[in-house]
């Protein structure tokens, strides 16, 4: 299928791109490894080895000629959740494993998927529904829900600002939870009919790394101990940063009132 060494290297790079994208969309480690190996075999590799952890991918492809190809890729962001692209990638890998696309076409499709981020409007509506819904779910009133929805927009805005910087998730969680804690606290002082705890709980649901934590435990139980442990530690730190931000805000409000 891919005969020359150049083409084999290009295939390896395509697969690394695909693996990196999958990780970025929130795929489990075992799915990333499995997808890369299946794809490689579909393109004629005799033996495939993929080692994936949340910060690096190592891929070795053996086509049966003299040297096996090994490429590595450093991964910088692997905690996203983008099911739209995840599903697109899944479809691409399924169709490729059934009948391999020419490499140029595979590259084109990958770039197409990588560029197709979810629209911002959808994210905003999602945050509004999630924060507003969970504020009532945990016992708030309709007014609490509206306040939580309003602050979820602030959280979205801040998350987007932090997304483009070098500040990690822990730092941004600390800052965002501190600001929203202060804002909600001030609003509740102005409007006594609001319940600060319910509003904040609604907004916490957006920031809490519950998904990352459950995924990490899945990884550990699935035998990917390194990735799972790294992600578990990360999500605990993120949760601690979240709690730290809110606690500081609550202390300031209690002192000020």
């Amino acid at each position: 299928m891919v005969s020359t060494v150049e083409k084999q290297t290009e295939l390896a790079r395509c697969l690394l791109d695909m693996g990196a994208l999958l990780l970025d969309c929130g795929a489990e480690i075992s799915r990333v490894e499995d997808t890369m190996c299946r794809m490689g075999k579909a393109y004629g590799a005799r033996h495939m080895e993929a080692f994936v952890i949340t910060s690096i991918i190592i891929l070795t492809m053996d086509f049966g000629n003299e040297d096996a190809i090994t490429e590595t890729r450093r991964i910088y962001s692997s905690a996203g959740n983008d099911f739209y692209r995840l599903e697109k990638l899944n479809e691409l890998s399924r169709s490729c494993c059934a009948s391999p696309l020419p490499l140029t076409e595979l590259r084109e499709k990958l770039e197409h998927v990588a560029a197709g981020k979810k629209p911002e409007k959808v994210i905003l509506w999602g945050s509004i529904l999630a924060a507003g819904g969970f504020a009532v779910f945990f016992g708030g009133t309709i007014w609490d829900s509206l306040a939580a929805a309003a602050f979820s927009l602030l959280i979205c805005f801040l998350q987007k600002q932090f997304g483009n910087t070098q500040i990690g998730t822990a730092g941004s969680n600390l800052f965002i939870s501190f600001l929203s804690g202060l804002g909600v606290g001030a609003l509740c002082e102005l409007l006594p009919m609001l319940h600060m705890d319910k509003i904040l709980i609604g907004d916490i649901m957006l920031l809490i790394p519950g998904i990352a934590m459950t995924n990490s435990i899945r990884n550990i139980l699935g035998g990917n101990t390194i990735s799972g442990a790294v992600r578990l530690l990360e999500s605990l730190i993120w949760a601690a940063a979240l709690a730290g931000g809110f606690m500081t805000a609550m202390l300031i409000i209690e002192l000020a009132v």
């Binding site: 929130g26 795929a27 489990e28 799915r31 959740n81 983008d82 099911f83 739209y84 692209r85 995840l86 599903e87 899944n90 979810k118 959808v122 994210i123 509506w125 999602g126 945050s127 509004i128 529904l129 999630a130 924060a131 507003g132 819904g133 969970f134 009532v136 779910f137 945990f138 705890d197 904040l200 709980i201 916490i204 649901m205 957006l206 809490i208 519950g210 998904i211 934590m213 459950t214 435990i217 899945r218 139980l221 699935g222 949760a239 709690a243 809110f246 606690m247 609550m250 202390l251 209690e254």
Partner: protein, 143 residues
């Protein structure tokens, strides 16, 4: 009864919100939100009979993941899509908040109680997910 209805409706809305937030396709959205709502219904049902936090969350998360596997099979997509939206109403945001609140106010006993709840629920969700995953692997190996 009214309280239960409100919880079920808001669980649906909340799961729908997370579905949107994570970029789930429109054609999956309603099914995903429905999964979250039924999972919460199961939690309420179990908890009303056996008031044990861990057990109720475990049952609900086992349901959520089984539902996700079924949906993945029927709708030809990765199960992860439905796992996340299914378990999200169980995520212990509220007990985490009250644990922090107690800690700030110097109520260490309260902080410990809520902290313990948070941990128990997180473990129950993870245990439920793993239980179903293991069952699936065993079936796949046999078939």
């Amino acid at each position: 009864m009214k309280q239960i209805m409100i919880q079920l409706v808001t669980a649906f809305i909340g799961s729908l919100g997370f579905g949107l937030l994570f970029g789930l396709r429109t054609r999956h959205l309603l099914w995903a939100a429905l999964g979250g709502m039924i999972a919460w219904g199961i939690y309420l049902w179990v908890y009303a009979r056996i008031p044990e936090l861990f057990l109720a969350n475990l049952c609900a998360s086992i349901f959520a993941v089984t539902y996700a596997e079924l949906m993945a099979h029927l709708r030809k997509c990765p199960a992860t899509l439905f796992v996340v939206t299914g378990v999200v109403p169980m995520v212990p945001g509220s007990s985490l908040y009250y644990a922090m609140d107690c800690a700030v106010n110097g109520d260490l006993e309260g902080a410990a109680i809520y902290g313990h709840k948070t941990l128990a629920v997180a473990l129950a969700i993870a245990a439920g997910i793993s239980f179903v995953t293991v069952c699936r692997e065993l079936r796949a190996r046999r078939g």
